[in-house]
Symmetry: C2
Subunit: 364 residues, 2 copies
């Protein structure tokens, strides 16, 4: 039986609560002999800062590099608003992405039929929605240098961030998008601001050439990022796979997730490049944040977290059947009417984090 | 009677058609003796490129600098996809913004009650929506240097764009937002990515200090740009004035405009700083684009263009009554059921660009 090392980073806010439910699923998978998951626990974000004044410790970074996959819940919260910039909770997350080389962030925006009415959009606009946003995650304005604030005197400061993309970075994320599209609706929408940004101009050029060279069978369209932000609201079902840079991907994937009315439901995967042996670093996290306002109340929705474990089974451990089983279990508990507070809608009552987790385990 | 010089730049696509309707309104204002508007016409965008291989000619730039206000319809279209980067249609618009010093872009997102059902969002989410997005327009990644593509050899290129903000730029746009809020709902939401970008960090710092120093009576909240992209979809009525940078403002204002279902209805104003005499450069344009797909068909909605003229009367010519009259005329024709194709909804029939323009003139 295969042995897999999983690093669990519950992080901040509701992170520990929803992580506990994912651990129940892991325990079940171990019991059922699907594989042997050896779970280590670490700290990231504010939790790590509180423990050792770093948003992730060197020891945990080493564990992350050695793990077969990282499962991260969420980081951040107002508690750490005052910490120095380089130590803020998010820097732990960004370091993980960068040092693990997780350039491909897959963010599905799926509208669960049972939840279509929870959306602020009309039912027919979102029912059946299934978009995959492929976001570049280790480049762009998140990491480009210079990135600094200079004191100019006289009370004036100057802040600079740098958006940088090289051809190979655009090509490798483009490949992920085209490959993904072939397994889905066979359409890729590439988004940038080529009318204003040189990086957008290069982005369009590289994606166009890659398409022509290797993926001419996939339908490709280009859409400016502002137009895409609009079209997501107008008629989101026009999209299949969307590929875009780090910053646009951040905003567009959040917007797309909110369209579905199912934010607490959406997992994500961040993948690195495969080495000679086909091994690659990977991290899985819910699309939602740490929700400090409801932390500790036992009412958070654990589904995105359990779904993220499902994505790990699919993309890191090649256990598609187990992943399908998790997806089916989630669909079943929803069909039975179980709702956490965030997806209440017209449901007569809601269940707790723990009850939702237990119900999914029972289905499995 | 005051004499005002207005430069009309119809631009591309549907621009000329909707400009013609705005000219009818101008003629009426002249006839009625509201003021004397001397209208000059110029070229911008693809139209300017076709005429003299520049996205705006030096002569028209001079006219723009001398005018009391510029009224621009729209630029761009697939026809000019192949023109050199520095001559593309958008560069004419960007040059106007930069050389006229139009740092403050006001983009209202208003949902007209008569059109609430045209939105893809549920009626109760958008009915009565009235947000003012205050977008910084002459800084950030649009204009920062370096902005270049370098050939690295081996088929590799490197593209760089630079996001730069200085304290004074953030302060002056912040002031516009706070002043605006005082005349409206008294609330400002400032948006950036301070968790990732140094410019966002400075932005938050400067807005916070300005608020404390001069605008403590206005409610201020900070919201990360990705969270704002989400919240606009979830519950847009939580916002009054939103202040943000050039790039985030581009996306968020488009998203907000689309929420209303009234995109063809929304005007915008771009304002410079006032000189000693209280004079400032200003440009007014519809929020929508050049819509090349429907250009020349006579079906475009002229309301955003006429509304932009209304904004000019309000912000550049201090003619609030005439501006109110235009707004009322627009509301009246809508109440009477007149609809262009873009806002058809359940309307039994639609009117042409010309019919809509004539109806508004008749109301006036
Ligand atoms: C927490 C933050 C740094 C992060 C980002 O901006 O990438 C988050 O918004 C996300 O989308 O994962
Ligand atoms: C046409 C383009 C350069 C422009 C921008 O990006 O600012 C447009 O999208 C806008 O919002 O006015």
């Amino acid at each position: 039986m295969s042995i897999y090392k999983l690093l669990l980073l519950p992080g901040d806010g509701i992170g520990p609560e929803i992580s506990a439910e994912a651990e129940k699923v892991l325990a079940l998978l171990n019991e059922a002999g699907v594989a042997r998951f050896e779970v280590e626990r670490g700290l990231v974000g504010g939790a790590a800062y509180d423990a050792h004044k770093q948003a992730i410790s060197e020891a945990d970074m080493t564990r992350a590099l050695e793990a077969d996959a990282v499962l991260l819940a969420a980081v951040g919260g107002p508690k750490w608003d005052g910490v120095p910039y380089d130590l803020r909770p998010e820097s732990g997350l960004l370091r993980l992405r960068k040092d693990l080389g997780l350039f491909a962030n897959l963010r599905p925006a799926i509208c669960y039929a049972a939840l279509a009415d929870a959306s602020s959009l009309k039912r027919d606009i979102v029912d059946g929605l299934d978009i995959m946003i492929v976001r570049e995650l280790t480049g762009g304005v998140y990491f480009g240098e210079p990135k600094e604030i200079t004191d100019l005197g006289n009370g004036q400061k100057r802040a600079v961030d740098t958006q940088v993309y090289e051809t190979y970075e655009i090509e490798r994320i483009g490949r992920v998008a085209f490959e993904m599209a072939r397994k889905r609706g066979n359409k890729v929408t590439s988004s940038e601001k080529s009318n204003v940004m040189k990086s957008g101009y290069l982005w369009r050029e590289v994606i166009t050439a890659l398409h022509k060279r290797e993926y001419a069978d996939v339908k490709l369209e280009h859409m400016l990022a502002d137009a895409l932000a609009m079209q997501l609201v107008r008629w989101p079902k026009q999209f299949d796979v969307v590929v875009t840079d780090n910053l646009f991907g951040d905003m567009l994937s959040d917007e797309a997730a909110m369209l579905t009315g199912s934010l607490g439901m959406l997992p994500s995967a961040s993948l690195g490049a495969a080495d000679e042996k086909g091994k690659r670093h990977a991290m899985y996290e819910p699309c939602h944040g740490s929700a400090p306002d409801i932390a500790g109340k036992g009412i958070a929705n654990p589904i995105a977290m359990i779904g993220s474990l499902g994505m790990a089974l699919r993309y890191s451990f090649d256990l598609p059947k187990a992943a399908d089983a998790i997806d089916a279990a989630i669909a079943n508990v929803l069909a039975k009417g179980l709702r956490t507070a965030d997806i209440k809608g017209d449901a007569p009552s809601t269940v707790s984090t723990k009850e939702m987790g237990d119900a999914i385990v029972a289905e499995l």
